[in-house]
């Protein structure tokens, strides 16, 4: 499959549906694995890296999940193509910096991707829409078990899966959920939430920034430790915490609507006005305003039919995505800001003006929480 074909469609995690998706954008589980007694990528010679890459790549391509897939060596990708994959969360920024001796394999719906010779020989991830860490873990766990039959993984009965960095040893698992929390940010509660989640050994980070500086009010919650707990326990702990954060976010939105209705209406109206009428807009400003529009959709101020196009803009307005559509290799940031504004204006012209009278609070998704 060609790069242009895989990238023509949005990933399943963006276009699909999932539990609690009003607040949880995506769930992701990543496993780190290495081959026994082979030097880790950061320490291996080029010839050793190539040898590992070839055997791993072949094993991954043979997976039934990868029947329809995109597979490429990193040196064959342009910097722009690599950046597109980073913006889609399909490879890490570290992996994008790699060249000869590293590769990536992903399935057509972009729900599974395997980075070969990132920091570890294999970094495989599954990603889906909404809060469904259990399903996502099952998906990647099956891939891992299938690979066991053709690859001998480095494993010790005491320390579990052995990884290049001791911070990943044990399960080698990093499970995370991306949360959209405009209510907690607008009501100045976000730092309190971040601190209390950090206290119980989970990490919360803003997407491109810290705390209230987070762009687009997007936050990622993930496990910090990998040794001493089984995969299911780690995911269980994450689920319980995320469900509480969801509840806090819903309460924050309800309070804003009740007590600060005018501020809320004003913010939604201004976001819509700015996005519809700007001719130059930075990535940061765009994400922050789009976040408010997304909130508006959750609150029924905009019709639900516009959810997907707006979600898509979060990715489509990123620098590499803008450039790939324009077919321009080098673009100044001024040109990008202008192009971004044009793209947003075009899409938002389809969205009707905010109908504040329709504002209602999404019924808390308590039934989905269990």
């Amino acid at each position: 499959m060609k790069f242009s074909r895989i990238i023509a469609n949005s990933g399943e995690w963006l276009s699909g549906d999932g539990p609690n998706r009003h607040i949880v954008v995506s769930s992701r589980v990543r496993l780190a694995r290495n081959l026994r007694d082979k030097p880790f990528p950061g320490w291996a010679k080029k010839s050793e890296r190539l040898e590992v890459m070839n055997s791993v790549k072949q094993a991954v391509e043979c997976l039934p999940e990868m029947e329809e897939s995109y597979s490429e060596n990193l040196e064959a990708l342009s910097p722009l193509e690599k950046q597109v994959l980073v913006e889609r969360h399909l490879i890490s920024r570290e992996h994008a910096a790699k060249g000869v001796g590293s590769a990536v394999v992903m399935n057509a719906p972009q729900s599974l991707s395997v980075m070969i010779n990132e920091e570890d020989h294999l970094r495989m991830q599954a990603i889906r829409c909404g809060l469904q860490l259990d399903n996502v873990f099952k998906m990647i766990d099956r891939v891992d078990t299938e690979l066991e039959s053709s690859l001998e993984f480095a494993y010790s009965a005491e320390l579990g899966y052995l990884t290049a960095c001791p911070s990943n040893v044990g399960t080698g698992m990093r499970a995370s959920a991306m949360l959209h929390l405009p209510g907690l940010v607008m009501s100045d509660q976000i730092n309190k939430i971040i601190n209390s989640v950090n206290k119980i050994g989970l990490a919360v980070r803003g997407l491109h920034g810290e705390g209230t500086e987070a762009m687009g009010n997007l936050f990622q919650v993930s496990n910090q430790t990998t040794l001493g707990e089984a995969e299911e326990e780690i995911i269980g702990r994450l689920n319980r915490v995320i469900e509480q954060v969801i509840e806090h976010e819903q309460n924050a939105r309800a309070l804003l609507a009740q007590r600060k209705a005018i501020t809320l209406h004003d913010q939604i109206g201004r976001a819509y006005g700015l996005l519809c009428h700007s001719y130059s807009i930075s990535s940061k400003e765009a994400l922050n305003l789009l976040s408010i529009i997304k909130l508006g959709i959750d609150l029924a101020v905009f019709p639900d039919a516009h959810r997907f196009p707006v979600d898509e803009l979060f990715i489509e307005t990123q620098p590499a995505h803008l450039q790939k559509d324009a077919q321009v290799v080098k673009m100044s940031s001024e040109e990008r800001d202008a192009l971004r504004a044009t793209l947003i204006r075009a899409k938002l012209s389809q969205v009707p003006q905010p109908d504040i009278a329709r504002l209602r609070l999404a019924t808390p998704a308590t039934t989905e929480n269990q």
Partner: protein, 163 residues
């Protein structure tokens, strides 16, 4: 304040995380924060970063001449990179890595997934452990015939494990 990584530029990014009740702080300059992917939440873990700094000193408990026979890695390399050379390094530098893992994780014993190839080994070692406990009890109770049988069973399980 100086950057903790390059020790030269002025730190502008200050990170604090509380992990299991312990406060961890890192100060970084603009360059190093970008390089370490601090702005990229998917790639960044404070633990990874801390490893590259203070925590890696722990491994010095192993004598400095120790070298991994498989990949040639030394503790000086670990101090530089915060990463190990190969899976065998975990055995070679065991004394230094042990205490570090204790500070970093919830526990020191893996309780998660086991590759199928290890299932048999795990079952056998557990079986041998139970048999040995029974053997001790049998000897204490002076049930020598039972003890002799248990010894045979243990020997058999051990040969099976070795195969």
């Amino acid at each position: 304040m100086q950057c903790d990584v390059c020790q030269s530029k002025e730190a502008t990014v200050f990170l604090t995380q509380i992990v299991d009740g312990k406060m961890q702080k890192v100060n970084l300059c603009e360059n190093c924060s970008k390089e370490k992917g601090v702005n990229d939440p998917t790639g960044f873990a404070l633990t990874d970063l801390l490893l590259g700094l203070g925590a890696s000193q722990e491994i010095e408990k192993s004598p400095s001449s120790v070298k991994c026979p498989i990949c040639g890695f030394t503790q000086a390399d670990f101090k530089k990179t915060g990463r190990l050379g190969c899976s065998n390094c975990y055995t070679v530098f065991e004394d230094g890595i042990g205490p570090m893992l204790k500070n970093m994780h919830k526990g020191t014993q893996h309780t998660g997934k086991t590759p199928a190839a290890f299932h048999k080994i795990r079952e056998h070692s557990e079986k041998i452990k139970t048999l040995q406990e029974n053997l001790t009890k049998a000897i204490e109770a002076e049930e020598f015939e039972l003890a002799a049988n248990l010894r045979d069973e243990i020997r058999q399980a051990e040969t099976e494990l070795a195969s």
